[in-house]
Amino acid sequence: MYAIVVMINIGIFVLLALSLNIITGYAGQPNIGQGAFFGIGAYSAAILTGKFGIYFWFAMPFAAIITGFIGLFLGLISIRIKEDFLAIVTIALNFIVAAVFQNVEFFGAAMGLAVPTPYWFGSPLSYRGYLYLVIVLIILVVIFSKLIEKSWIGLALGAIRNNEMAADSLGIDTKKFKILAFVLGTAIAGLTGAVYAHYMTFIMASDFNFITSVTILSMVILGGNNTIRGPIVGAIILGLIPELFRFISDYRLLVYATILILMIRFQPSGLLGDDSFVWTRLKGLKTRFMEKRRAQ
């Protein structure tokens, strides 16, 4: 039982890290406010099921669409405001969104929102059910990320990440693709929020504050920005640490800040980035192993 709860928690962070990777990894746009979109999805779904009585399974994609729509506005902002300034805007956005949830009566204000239990073929969704749901979503998001990497949109975003002016000169509508990256990345976070809200059965503004955003970002940077394996591994490591060493949760921010600084200083591509210390050695081992097998 405890193991399942830990796995669901980590799975939710895996989804969030993968969603942020589309924005910070593929498109190379800073975003230290992904927690806000996680929250927008959670609150949208909670209101749709709790206040309007819509089925969870319909509310989930709806929450993703609502979140993606708000992500579109951040995309529009990213056309005008770039790099460090955009990072600050995303932080501000996170505070604004959290403040709205905290203070507006419709969103339950300081009391938070209770969320009804979803049903799966007549029986309430169990923890095991949530685990399967999260695993299915992770598989879908991984396939989607892989599709981005292998398709023209991946090349367009790669060009934008490296040099916007040159990307534009090669026929890429950089505005459109940046907006698209924000919409896709935030919509997945919104979808995850919908699952989280129902799994928790109760949500409040502090679940989606700046610390949540920093946590997600730390996972992506630790594992390796702009890869699929990186955010997954980063989310697993940072998701497990507080479970293994209870006392760390009090010093979470200190740990995340240290990780961010150390990684950016010594391994900017993350633990498992293409040219990271660990990954290059793993690849070396693999080629040596293949050679040995061929020799036999």
Partner: protein, 253 residues
């Protein structure tokens, strides 16, 4: 009969109070190399940026194949068939050399929302990219990251990428700047080869010897205005051009 493929007509660009380009007009002929020279700050790169949609002109016309394309966004101008390179090479550093060229090949697949999700790295596209790399003489680096390349090859990659758009006009912004003698002459050979392959080229370059040797026509800019236009030998003997570069001859003045 040579055809005017590109007509620049009274283009003016201001930055606040500074007039960077004042009523600049000239034509670019098909299958020729047109050189753009002038002292530092003359407005050459500003003109390139205005022609390629990076800057919005204050007024004027740029007619390409009988269509006014002035102030279209940069990505539209690339679509239409005018490709460019940059003075600082601007390669996509964390992509491989082949991927850099693939970005240019994708031009028609970046439209709409569905098309961009089509797979990009199929055998046909990789083959096309490698043919272009073969042509610019850097096929042996195709699997390297662009960040591994030397300046000369980064420039070449810029040209390869632009060629992937299959453009009618190729604009080169100082392709020789900062290159050693050998690398520089190889780059010139490439530019000449492109001309033989029926490409129309507009080139900005400070290396006078190079520009005189390859250009069919030269436009001279000084302080945002065109001061001369003609064949290389006419430009060499033009008094105003010599003055713009070396200053007025005080004794004869």
């Amino acid at each position: 009969m040579v055809k005017d493929i590109l007509k620049i007509n009274k283009v003016t660009k201001k930055f606040g109070g500074l007039v960077a380009l004042r009523d600049v007009s000239f034509n670019v002929q098909k299958n020729q190399i047109t050189g753009l020279i002038g002292p530092n700050g003359a407005g050459k790169t500003t003109l390139f940026n205005t022609m390629s949609g990076v800057y919005k002109a204050d007024h004027g016309e740029i007619v390409f194949n009988d269509k006014n394309i002035i102030n279209l966004p940069a990505h539209r101008i690339a679509d239409i068939g005018i490709a460019r390179t940059f003075q600082i090479a601007r390669p996509f550093l964390d992509l491989t050399v082949t991927e850099n060229v693939l970005v240019g090949l994708g031009e028609k697949n970046y439209q709409g929302i569905i098309k961009p999700f089509k797979l990009s790295k199929n055998a046909v596209n990789i083959k096309k990219a490698n043919e272009i790399l073969e042509m610019v003489g850097m096929i042996e680096f195709n699997k390297h990251k662009a960040s591994d390349l030397s300046l000369g090859y980064k420039r070449r990659l810029g040209i390869a990428r632009a060629l992937a758009l299959d453009p009618e006009v190729l604009m080169l912004d100082e392709p020789l700047a900062g290159l050693g003698k050998d690398v520089s002459s190889k780059m010139l050979e490439l530019v000449q080869k492109l001309k033989e392959d029926k490409m129309t080229i507009v080139i900005i370059e400070h290396d006078m010897e190079a520009i005189m040797s390859i250009c069919d026509k030269i436009i001279v800019l000084n302080q945002g205005e065109k001061i001369a236009e003609g064949k290389p030998e006419e430009i060499q003997n033009n008094k105003e051009v010599v003055e713009a570069y070396l200053g007025k001859d005080e004794i004869n003045a």
